[in-house]
């Protein structure tokens, strides 16, 4: 296997005023994204961006033509293509761009941006969407989640949630927020940051109760989003499994917010993850001995009975021959 030399892309999302830029500025300052990083900032409102962002980044692109998950999508694709093009003109042995951090506007759905990048025939060859970081405002997130479907989609798309402004938030309120976030997205790692600086997060006590979130019209009529774990058989047939998962995503992709897991295949440990109908190209992970979380896939979604997933998969893996 040749190593993957594609550009890494970190997507930074979060609701309006949730502290995305503050967090990013500090991360760039301490070099958390490595030395050769390009920052792409999308502003839904056409406001000038702080030059302070440029410190620590190799370059910056401002996308001011509207939110890049909808009206500004063309502009975003074009900007990313230019970056890929400039990088491809350099030899692989030269020091060239390693990473892009794309800060979305507060109104963007990260899943839509991932879908746009992976649906572009040029970008999919050059860019790996590595992680979706979502900033969550510890003070206001509960109110937003109660009323905004967008806020819930952003949380649902996260691989990593950064709780911001936690210093101004009462411990009990913070625990409630974390329990509520866990009901929306149980697989993302959670950390805290105050003005971008990593802050310690106390262990979540067992008696922290989530706030029941009201239904927001049609989307939630199919029941609450819940995680389901499906254990895979030891001698998994990867081809049959992909047939099943692609059929499932085709039929139920809008209900399956997230599918994530590590599979053992003949080629090695494969990290599989999807956001709605989009499957990220599976990555081969380094061997780490036998891990308990291998061969378990987590499905996060709604609109089906949890036990049906396992039944359906076993049905697909052992079809009865009728001819």
């Amino acid at each position: 296997m040749t190593s993957d030399t594609r550009l890494r892309l970190t997507l930074l999302g979060g609701y309006l005023g949730s502290g995305k830029t503050t967090w990013l500025r500090h991360q760039l300052h301490v070099g958390a994204f490595g030395p050769r990083v390009h920052v792409v900032v999308n502003e839904a409102a056409e406001t000038p961006v702080d030059d302070a962002l440029l410190v620590g980044a190799e370059g910056m692109t401002l996308l001011a033509g509207g939110c890049c998950c909808c009206v500004g999508r063309e502009e975003m694709i074009a900007a990313l293509r230019r970056l890929c093009d400039a990088r491809s003109r350099l030899s692989a042995t030269e020091a060239r761009l390693e990473r892009i951090v794309l800060e979305t506007s507060g109104l963007a759905d990260p899943a839509a941006i991932v879908a746009a990048i992976q649906g572009d025939p040029v970008l999919v060859n050059h860019i790996v969407v590595e992680e979706t970081v979502v900033a969550v405002d510890a003070l206001h997130a509960l109110a937003q989640l109660a009323t905004e479907p967008l806020g819930r989609r952003q949380v649902g798309a996260a691989d990593r949630m950064v709780l911001t402004k936690t210093d101004a938030c009462a411990p009990a309120a913070l625990a409630t927020l974390r329990a509520t976030l866990a009901t929306l997205n149980g697989h993302a790692t959670v950390s805290a940051a105050v003005l971008g600086v990593e802050a310690a997060l106390p262990a979540l006590s067992a008696d922290a109760m989530p706030v029941p979130l009201p239904d927001l019209g049609g989307e939630d009529a199919r029941g609450p989003i819940q995680p389901t774990q499906v254990a895979l058989p030891e001698d998994l047939d990867w081809s049959a499994f992909t047939l099943w998962l692609s059929a499932l995503l085709h039929a139920r992709g809008d209900d399956l917010v997230r599918v994530k897991g590590v599979l053992r295949t003949p080629a090695g440990r494969l990290l599989l993850q999807t956001v709605r109908k989009v499957v990220q190209s599976p990555e081969i992970l380094p061997e780490q001995g036998v891990s308990r979380s291998d061969n378990v896939i987590v499905f996060i979604g709604r609109g089906y009975r949890p036990e049906d997933l396992g039944r359906s998969m076993r049905r697909f893996l052992s079809p009865t021959r009728t001819t």
Binding site: S239, S246, H250, A251, P266, L270, F316
Partner: protein
């Protein structure tokens, strides 16, 4: 890339991960077509991958056929040929064991 048919456009569909060498990939294609054929038979459809023509050939018992490029397209096309949705979580499908 073949300039007559434009394949392959994308750098490997995600379902093709895990097969590193060309022979592995070809073997995986044959195997996948066989499993897919088993799955589609109860729906009155057939699947075939000869290994030469790019893509998977889907057909109906009445003789209609079409070629699809990857598994994401298979299901949309199978539904079109069949004229009804294919849902792996359909209770009728699950109970037909």
């Amino acid at each position: 890339m073949c300039n007559a048919c434009g394949n392959p456009a994308a750098p490997g569909h995600w379902t093709e991960a895990g097969a590193a060498t060309p022979s592995d990939r070809l073997r995986a294609r044959f195997h996948r077509a066989r499993v897919l054929d088993d799955i589609l038979r109860p729906y009155g459809l057939t699947a075939h991958d000869g290994g030469v023509v790019p893509g998977i050939q889907l057909g109906t018992m009445a003789g209609a056929s079409s070629i699809v490029h990857n598994l994401s397209e298979v299901w949309a096309e199978a539904e079109r040929l069949r004229g009804a949705p294919i849902d792996p979580l359909d209770p009728r499908y699950l109970d037909d064991l």
